[in-house]
Amino acid sequence: MSKTVQIHLLRLVLVFLAQILVFKQATYTLGGIAFIHILYYPIAFLMLPIKTPKALTMLVAFVFGLGLDFFYNSPGVHAAACVFSAYVRTLVFALLEPFSGYGPEDSPTINTMGFGWFVSYISVVLLVHIFTYFSIEAFSFVYFFRIFINSLFSFFASFVAIIISQFLFRFKH
């Protein structure tokens, strides 16, 4: 029990540091068309065990997002997006539930749930998260086209980063 908690806490901290130290610096502009933010951090709370209480997931996501906001200097923006995707996560679990259901100890990883399941889960929630983030960042749907383009490119970059990291660290879990 305490070991599981420690692993998850450790991952939260590591992902947090990776985001603010590495991925925060990696911001590109794509020929004046789009900003690419690599939002790697959703993986931190998206990989909490499937049976984690919704409320706990949201609280973790909220604190996590608030911490990021301190470093991004945008109070509330990441936190709002994090809470939203933490909530959406449970709906996506219900959609993707296999016939046999989820085991009590299952975590949403490639190892336990398979590559296809993991890709569909991560892509849906990540897209939701990134779109929410850019919408709240712009704070007005007047800029809808900008939001859409930015979300699309940032999604691909973040998605690639997450999948690569999963293969790099898969033996850790």
């Binding site: 949201m58 945008s74 509330g76 936190a79 909530y87 709240i136």
Partner: protein, 274 residues
């Protein structure tokens, strides 16, 4: 208390979600200057829109009151018109004539149109100052009838579409006067009789009240001359008048009160019949 706990258990996660998001947006709006500006601008915009809509609804609800106030305004305007009509007369004391006629606006709550003898009921009565033998004119042009009976809150009006109607009328810019009667056929047409044949009457002339009676002031337009007949063996024309107002669709009317009617009638009655 148990129910509250139950609700928290069932809807805890969505509630927490809403609470956290609200808090996040509170932070976003208060600590990000650009988003604060957007929020203030758009909330002002939407608040303005909502205020505009509610204003519209309020106006709609208020229509009845506005209608009434317009009626009152019209009444004063008609009063002024009548006094202007009299101010061009060479009667030496115009200031008494100015206030000679008063106008009381009223709704029509019941009416008949297709009988031989038609009636109206006004939703105002003695309390508002309506008395028997006052004239009733319509909102735009034309006359409606004469008050016969008055109760506390209602007035019974004999329509001009009545077999007994005889209204003293003249023709605008021509001399001579006659009586307006209704032959009971067409609610849009009446006959003007007893205009002597030596007067000139042309189709298209405007018929107006003569002001010889105490009921209607002079100069209220009644209708247009549609047909002029010279019946053989008679000394006067029979003129068909097309009314300006359509009494079938009428909703409002104005009661004309002549403040000196009693005085005039008394004076006229002092002259012994010859």
């Amino acid at each position: 208390m148990y129910n509250v706990v139950q609700i928290l258990v069932r809807f805890g996660a969505p509630l927490l979600f809403v609470v956290l998001e609200v808090f996040c947006f509170y932070l976003i709006i208060n600590y990000n200057q650009d988003k604060k500006d957007i929020f203030i601008n758009s909330s002002a915009y939407y608040a303005g829109r909502i205020a505009e809509q509610s204003n519209k609804i309020g106006q709609y609800i208020d229509l009845q009151q506005q209608n009434d106030s317009l009626l009152r305004e019209n009444a004063t305007l008609i009063e002024n018109l009548i006094s202007i009509e009299y101010s061009s007369d060479k009667i030496p004391e115009p200031d008494t004539m100015y206030t000679s006629y008063g106008i009381i606006p009223a709704h029509i709550c019941n009416s008949t149109i297709h009988l031989r003898n038609n009636h109206f009921t006004l939703c105002k009565g003695y309390r508002e100052g309506i008395r028997p033998d006052m004239g009733v004119i319509s909102a735009n042009e034309g006359i409606v009838g004469i008050v016969r009976n008055v109760s506390e809150n209602y007035a019974h009006v004999i329509s001009i579409l009545h077999s007994q109607t005889r209204i003293s009328c003249s023709i605008k810019r021509r001399s001579g006067h006659g009586s307006l009667v209704w032959n009971g056929l067409d609610p849009q047409r009446m006959s003007l009789i007893a205009i002597p044949k030596h007067e000139t009457v042309i189709v298209g002339d405007t018929v107006m009240t003569s002001g010889y009676s105490t009921i209607f002031p002079k100069g209220i337009f009644v209708g247009k001359v549609e047909k002029v007949e010279k019946s053989a063996g008679s000394n006067s024309y029979t003129i068909t008048v097309r009314l300006f107002n359509n009494l079938a669709g009428i909703k409002h009317a104005y009661v004309v009160s002549n403040r000196f009617a009693a005085e005039k009638i008394q004076l006229e009655n002092e002259v012994p019949n010859e």
